[in-house]
């Protein structure tokens, strides 16, 4: 049995019902899984603290997860977002856009001032889930995005994807439509012999044929020009999607660095950064286990909320105080059950606010409101002021003095867990290339040095054009960029000063 008053006690009946129905659907599945897991752990005499990752990036005990499994729905990507947040701290880039580009999807998350953003609603298969979650935008693009010509003769890349099966033509599994990965293979950017560390052979000739026949011929372009064109279009589309997700929050890409993970990301990240006029790109160490790494840095969290539509004014203080006290007490009770010591507790308060008449709310953190404290008129004024500021930042206008409403009050009860120390990085390489390869870049075939990632040295940065390979991904360093590991072992690519990028401004 799932009660919406437990699972998602918020205004908007459809969203709440959908969230609760999904929860009810998942309870038996997740409960069965957790039972089996704990039984097998007992058998193996393995007795660690067991936590599950929630969509909000926090952890939950098996008890909480079993009762409200809907909170786990987006735990995978949320681990990735946690990792990017941690990476932002590791490499000293408080404003970081994380892109995770795989074969079929492309996830974007934004870290701003060292914190990733949380949204109060997401969706699964078109069904709304009204719960706080890490904000991750999924764009229908990846290595599998297919290039095609419409009946009017215009080139498109995506949104259709070859997926993992049949996959791009080069996979040799029956795919016939040229995909982005095929363009990378045809231009020598992916080594057909070293895809996934050599685990999968790619059919270079088939990729070339498909591009020449299906794209090059109708557009009157040579094979390499058509392939490079496909990549330019794909990069422009991905950059536009990232820009739109920043734009929705009133953010400017030029204030950010880019972090790239995912197998297909390395070949595109620097081009995306150029499109968005960014100057730095971070390629995390051990990209294959990045999400798991992020999870090591999360804490137990309980997201609590109550909806009550009240005007944001002093007369509402008693109501707000009641709501807050109730939420704080609930949060403390939950942390008691998790056996979190008082010193390891944190409570973050926020309100969903809007101008009267608006129907969507802004999530506004309520600074300096603490457990057990009386809410002062000054604190309420501060909250309202922050709302006006945030509205202006996000929407290009505000109405200071206009009537403001509070729709929902939120408390996140946090139980801090011990954190691992950063892994030490020892630079052992000499930054000498392991080979050279012919790669098509900016309209020409060029003999390009290929480096093994593990052979790059802290002290000798490599200038583009260059290719850096590892088992999991291939990084293309463009002209005008250089790359070197940072002290943490993460690779950092920088636009060389004076290179200026492609922007005509």
């Amino acid at each position: 049995m799932s009660l919406s008053s437990d699972v998602s006690p918020e205004i908007r009946e459809f969203e709440r019902s959908s969230t609760t129905a999904l929860n009810a659907l998942l309870v038996p599945v997740v409960a069965r899984y957790l039972d089996r897991l704990s039984a097998r752990m007992r058998e193996a005499r393995f007795d660690p603290h067991l936590y599950l990752v929630q969509s909000n990036g926090g952890l939950a005990t098996p008890e909480v997860a079993g009762a409200q499994p809907v909170r786990l729905l987006l735990s995978g990507p949320s681990g990735g977002a946690m990792a990017v947040t941690q990476l932002a701290a590791d490499v000293g880039e408080p404003n970081l856009v994380g892109v995770d580009m795989g074969g079929t999807s492309f996830d974007v998350c934004v870290v701003r001032d060292g914190a990733s953003s949380v949204i109060t609603e997401g969706d699964i298969d078109g069904l709304p889930v009204r719960l706080p979650m890490m904000e991750i935008r999924t764009v229908g693009a990846g290595g599998g995005s297919i290039a095609w010509i419409d009946p009017g003769g215009a080139l498109h890349v995506g949104p259709r994807s070859a997926g993992a099966s049949p996959g791009p033509v080069a996979y040799g599994q029956g795919g016939e439509e040229p995909a982005v990965t095929d363009a990378n293979v045809a231009l020598g950017r992916i080594d057909p012999e070293y895809f996934l560390g050599g685990a999968m052979r790619l059919d270079h000739a088939a990729a070339e044929r498909a591009i020449a026949g299906k794209i090059g011929a109708p557009l009157g372009l040579s094979m390499p020009a058509a392939a490079e064109g496909m990549l330019s279009v794909a990069n422009a589309n991905m950059a536009a999607a990232i820009k739109l997700s920043l734009f929705e929050k009133g953010l400017d890409p030029r204030d950010f660095a880019l972090a790239s993970s995912g197998g297909a990301g390395g070949l595109h990240a620097i081009a995306l950064a150029e499109e968005m006029s960014m100057d730095r790109v971070v390629f995390p160490r051990d990209p294959g286990t990045l999400s798991a790494y992020g999870i090591l840095f999360s804490d137990i969290t309980h997201d609590l909320a109550r909806s009550r539509l009240v005007p944001a004014e002093a007369d509402s203080l008693p109501v707000l105080q009641d709501l807050l006290d109730g939420l704080m007490a609930d949060g403390a009770g939950l942390l008691d059950r998790d056996a979190i010591a008082p010193d390891d507790r944190n409570f973050a308060v926020a309100a969903d606010m809007r101008y009267r008449g608006q129907a969507f709310e802004l999530l506004v953190p309520w600074r300096d409101v603490e457990s057990g404290a009386k809410i002062s008129t000054a604190a309420l004024d501060r909250l309202i002021g922050d709302f006006h500021d945030q509205h202006l930042r996000q929407f290009a206008y505000n109405e200071p003095g206009g009537p403001v409403e509070i729709v929902t009050l939120r408390v996140t009860a946090i139980g801090r867990l011990p954190k691992p120390r950063l892994r030490a990085f020892e630079s052992r390489g000499t930054s000498s290339p392991k080979a050279h390869r012919r790669i098509y870049l900016d309209g020409d075939w060029r003999e390009t040095p290929v480096y093994d990632r593990h052979a790059l040295s802290l002290d000798a940065s490599v200038a583009g054009p260059a290719v850096v390979e590892e088992e999991y991904t291939t990084i293309l360093v463009a002209d005008g960029w250089s790359i070197a590991p940072g002290t943490t072992g993460d690779l950092i690519a920088r636009r060389q000063s004076g290179a200026g990028g492609r922007e005509a401004e």
Binding site: R12, E13, D150, G153, A154, H156, V233, F395, Y397
Partner: protein
């Protein structure tokens, strides 16, 4: 003219769409009234300096297809391009100058690069109230446009970035919802500003020459794609007739008669024989009819190609002046959507004969608009405006979607709890209406019902409903859907006051129930798979009576 390579072309095309999406996001997130915010009744697009649509956000086709014609009218007849300066914003809501009805205010702003206007950005919002005889500016009893609200001829609301306060004040003074109208206008202006900044950046990055070449190519490519789609349809003359129930004054039905001629790569859509213009407000101006026809033909053409002015070129419209599809000033037009939907239904019905495997049966075909005018406890006026939808027509291969907004107006659902928290009404029901979908091999989608009680001391209900008498048609032996209806309950007495009401007095405790029409069925109901009929019965989508009587389902071994 500078040329543009096919790669740059695609990149510019996407950049233009991205710019219009940014404009759309701006309105979505910043507007104030529920019409715009929760029902998403707005559109944004980008035009070349001749007013032709070159890119648009995925919003409301009925708007988008008319914005270009409106802008062309403005440029040719009212404010020529030479008079548009940097920072100017020209607005209009005049149906007799390319608009559709008065609540839709269109706003355009030129984009200047190096002193020359290289493009125009535009945003259309359905505003909550622009005056006239009824709250929400929906007065079904209007017989002249003068009764429908403030009519704004094309004029500059901003000159060189400065707002004309006199005009702004005049507009607000004519609205029952001053505060919301001001907020929505502000968000419309913010969208134009964002769009202009993006366009400037695109022009600087790629150069104005290549941008100009690209916009021509973009339209040409869509034209080619549209022509290819028309060529793929068999040549012929396809006729169809559907009806608007009435104009709110008499019981007289208004035929919308169409003959679609497919001839090679072009289509001629001829409305000769359609009803003369009506006394009531169901009339369409020519631009409105064009917009509906473009939508219908583009949907039937299917295919993946960019929607822009190039798509319109192979389509010719013949609409007799003075008819319900091309009305003369000062005919009232606020409910133009009633006839607009019927134009779509009729054109689709005609094209179903050309491409029977692709066209679904009729969708509900109405914007079920109603408004309740009330007063807040403070005495301030309060308008609760709602637009509801119905069932989608059955497709040759699939059942119609239940209570699903048609692409033509593309509206979102407004949560009951949000309505209740803002207006003095309490909902007592919201759900699907059983048996409302037309029976068929594939079943039409179900209509919905919404039922609320008035909590304010009194209120005034205005409605503009349709499909109360002429149901959405079925195809290929499929049955028509159920018609919609409106019930008012007071002290246990129920009455049906009709579909088009102006100023019906409500009292506290009155219960208003709207049931919307479903979608038509496709194919013989007897040939519907038995498992599907049984599932519909179990889901409560159809009654036992219909399962036996219409579908011929045997229940417990009993034949029908």
């Amino acid at each position: 003219m500078t040329d543009v390579d096919p790669i740059q072309l695609e990149i510019i095309r996407n950049a233009l769409v991205a710019a219009s999406e940014q404009m759309s996001v701006t309105i979505w997130r910043t507007s104030r009234s529920t019409v715009i915010r929760e029902m998403l009744d707005f559109s944004t697009a980008i035009f070349d300096s001749e007013g032709r649509n070159i890119a648009q956000a995925t919003r409301i086709p009925v708007h988008l297809n008319s914005m270009a014609t409106c802008l062309e009218d403005i440029l040719q007849g009212h404010v020529p391009l030479s008079e548009w300066n940097e920072g100017d914003v020209v607005i209009t809501n005049d149906p007799y100058c390319g608009g559709q009805h008065l609540p839709d205010i269109l706003a355009f702003r030129p984009v200047h690069v190096d002193g020359a206007a290289i493009a125009i950005v535009g945003a259309l919002c359905h505003h909550i109230d622009v005056g006239g005889g009824a709250p929400g500016s929906y007065d079904p009893m209007a017989t002249e446009i003068y009764q429908e609200g403030l009519r704004i001829q094309p004029l500059k609301l901003y000159e060189g970035g400065r707002r004309n306060e006199a005009v702004h004040g005049l507009i607000l003074n004519n609205s029952r919802e001053r505060e919301k109208l001001a907020g929505d206008l502000a968000s419309q202006m913010a969208a134009l500003e964002i769009g202009a900044a993006e366009l400037t950046q695109i022009a600087r990055r790629y150069g104005t020459g290549p941008l100009r070449a690209a916009t021509e190519r973009i339209m040409d490519q869509s034209e080619q794609a549209m022509r290819a789609a028309l060529r793929a349809m068999p040549d012929g003359v396809y006729e169809f007739e559907d009806f608007v129930d009435d104009d709110g004054f008499s019981d007289q039905s208004l035929p919308v008669r169409v003959a679609v001629t497919i001839e090679g790569d072009r289509a001629v859509v001829d409305f000769t024989g359609s009803s003369p213009q009506a006394r009531g407000s169901v009339n369409c101006t020519l631009n409105m009819s064009k917009s509906a026809v473009y939508f219908a033909v583009m949907s039937a053409a299917g295919g993946d190609f960019a929607a822009n002015s190039g798509c319109y070129r192979p389509i010719e419209l013949i609409a007799p002046e003075g008819s319900v599809v091309n009305c003369r000033h000062p005919a009232p037009v606020v409910n133009r959507m009633l006839t607009g939907h019927r134009i779509v239904n009729a054109v689709m019905g005609a094209l179903a004969q050309a491409v029977p495997d692709r066209i679904p049966a009729a969708y509900y075909g109405v914007s079920y608009v109603y408004s309740v005018g009330m007063r807040k406890p403070t005495g301030a006026p309060d308008v609760y405006l709602e637009i509801e939808v119905g069932g989608w027509g059955a497709h040759p291969e699939e059942d119609g979607a239940n209570a699903f907004s048609a692409g033509f107006h593309n509206l979102a659902n407004s949560p009951l709890e949000m309505v209740e928290s803002s207006h003095a009404v309490t909902f007592s029901g919201y759900g699907l209406v059983p048996d409302s979908g037309g029976a068929g091999r594939t079943r039409g989608g179900l209509g919905l019902y919404r039922e609320f009680r008035l909590e304010a001391a009194d209120g005034v209900l205005a409605t503009s409903f349709e499909r109360f008498r002429h149901p959405p048609y079925g195809l290929d032996g499929g049955q028509p859907a159920h018609v919609g209806r409106l019930l008012i309950r007071r002290n246990g007495q129920v009455r049906e006051p009709g579909s088009k009401l102006s100023g019906l007095e409500l009292r506290r405790g009155d219960v208003v129930r709207l049931e919307t029409s479903g979608g038509g069925g496709f194919g013989d109901p007897k040939s519907r798979p038995r498992a599907a009929v049984a599932r519909d019965l179990a889901d409560g989508y159809i009654s036992e009576q219909v399962a036996r009587g219409v579908y011929g389902l045997e229940i417990d071994g009993e034949p029908a």
